[in-house]
Symmetry: C2
């Protein structure tokens, strides 16, 4: 009993310290949960929404298990210019790495163009050439081998404009939003057109989103025994393209609940936003609008990458919050904060 | 500051009460975390595994985020005789419910046989007839409508032998195992050949497993606007069959991490067990062997439902734990406990 009392006393002291830390951090959060966001309608609509769905005594309360938020990745959580990081630089680097075993690529298109950086021929090869390169870069080995390939690339490759690792080109304001939602018991999922196996090796470290909360495009895999050990072999065949109408389909399949919050930046995200806002309860959706050519890029209706046309029209017509990167964000990338 | 002190003191007192409750319940758990399991090798191997992977100072420690456990459903978490509950009684009941709108079924096979309970003709219609009935029962409406259909059926339908709701035919020892793993920060997923949309409406309430932790078979869905509102329409086309080799494929796709524990009962679970045990770290796999004709059913190598042949051979050869329902379980169903 003496031991019990001592344990309880120690637990109580320890709990008091934790409580103090929690109170302190809550006070800090109460001051500003989104410090890199300028005050304005967008920031306020996020904060109002979170307050409302977590207020147990309010009419819009949502229990924690139903607080599902979905985020597009390319252009919403990290940059996507001048070409989607996975389908541009990663694919090209992968082709270069595989080239020594394929001497025939020196004279075969579209591989020749990829190896020589011949952008015109690459563009001319169209979707067929692109698919051939992408499948070659992504298929062939086992899932374990591909995971290592992605880890190595993410740790070393650098963006040509910023000379920084691609994972440094994530948006500081969105990292704060992810933290803010996490602190309020949301479960955030990535729902991206990017490859599910391309994102999983690094998103937990970079975004705090666990692999099982990643929904993305995939190629087929095959279960096989090799030397008595089971492996999953990556096949050069598309399994699912997680874009446009595919996003609500995949949200339903992978998550099985309708999100109450969703964030995107392009027309590819429109069905996900429509699906989210059509729920019975309260919801928050927002579009990241790339308006800052100086700190990031400025593009929308006419861009081949991350085109934002139809979704911008619908946002304007329906009053959906649009994040104006230039006006709404104090900083874009974490490295700007030194 | 005075208020702060008062809050801290109250928090501390409150924390002490919580700590006492936790200590008490931990003591209870320490006594027996699996009270419906008879003492023996199987129970001990489960407890040893959980202790080992949660022991921070031990060599087999696994951080909480990697404590993934996967469970087959039919025959592992609930019964599956005389026919899988979804693909037998649910399908037949659904055909009966839809029949008034399909007068032609009175004279068209396999619908006629389904409506008349003509088991011989049903069996003769084979996989083609079965697929036709299953697709008719599962496709057609929206995902929201299907969810309501499942909820209604689960709330009302009863098993012919036990005259109880199907959700009462879950295994008490497995419920305890799920609780025990949850208390030790495991994330448990269902990985079942059953329909993902058939399980999600009720598994959270029955097993404490959230919808986003359900992996299963699926039919395709299509995103569509109806009167300006987005819906997902269920198409009569198989999307994915989550059985045999499909289980590790789906585990990789949906979860993206290899489980460290897996539980199954049939040859359909063998690849999932092989995949789990092939991980680098510690793992626990077990097979539920149906050996109790009196309290449940007894079947294995020759059963058409939940055949356990190859997996039993491999379990015996490799020393995998096999749960002998008759010997290992004090009770089978929760209702036996009164």
């Amino acid at each position: 009993m003496k031991i019990m009392k001592s344990i309880l006393r120690n637990t109580a002291i320890w709990a008091a310290i934790v409580a103090m830390l929690v109170l302190t951090s809550n006070t800090a959060l109460a001051k500003d949960p989104l410090p890199s966001w300028n005050d304005g309608a967008t920031k306020q609509s996020i904060i109002n929404f979170v307050k409302k769905v977590t207020d147990k005594s309010g009419p819009d309360y949502v229990p924690p298990e139903e607080r599902i938020a979905t985020f597009d990745n390319d252009g919403t959580l990290w940059s996507e210019q001048p070409f989607y990081f996975q389908f541009g630089p990663f694919v090209i680097d992968r082709i270069k790495a595989l080239a020594p075993k394929h001497p025939e690529w020196k004279t075969t298109q579209p591989f020749k163009a990829a190896l020589e950086g011949d952008k015109k021929t690459l563009a001319d090869s169209g979707m067929k050439g692109f698919t051939q390169l992408a499948m070659t870069a992504h298929a062939g080995g086992t899932t374990a081998e591909f995971e290592q390939t992605v880890k190595d690339w993410i740790a070393t490759a650098k963006h040509p404009r910023f000379k920084r690792h691609y994972t440094e080109l994530v948006y500081q304001p969105m990292l704060e939003l992810l933290s803010y939602l996490r602190a309020n018991d949301f479960k955030s999922f990535i729902v991206s057109g990017g490859g599910i196996d391309f994102m999983r090796p690094w998103v937990e470290k970079v975004y705090g989103i666990p692999p099982e909360h990643v929904v993305g495009s995939s190629i087929k895999t095959k279960f096989e025994m090799r030397d008595g050990k089971p492996v999953l072999v990556r096949l050069p065949e598309l399994d699912f393209m997680n874009d446009k109408d595919g996003k609500p389909v995949a949200i339903h399949k992978f998550i099985g609940r309708r999100p109450i919050a969703a964030f995107g930046n392009s027309d590819g995200d429109l069905p996900m936003l429509q699906w989210t806002v059509a729920g019975d309860g309260p919801s928050l959706i927002a579009i990241v609008h790339h308006t800052d050519a100086k700190r990031e890029w400025a593009y929308d209706r006419k861009s081949d990458i991350g085109r934002l046309d139809k979704a911008l029209g619908e946002a304007n017509a329906k009053g959906w919050p649009v994040v104006d990167m230039k006006k709404d964000w104090k900083v874009v990338y974490p490295f700007e904060m030194k």
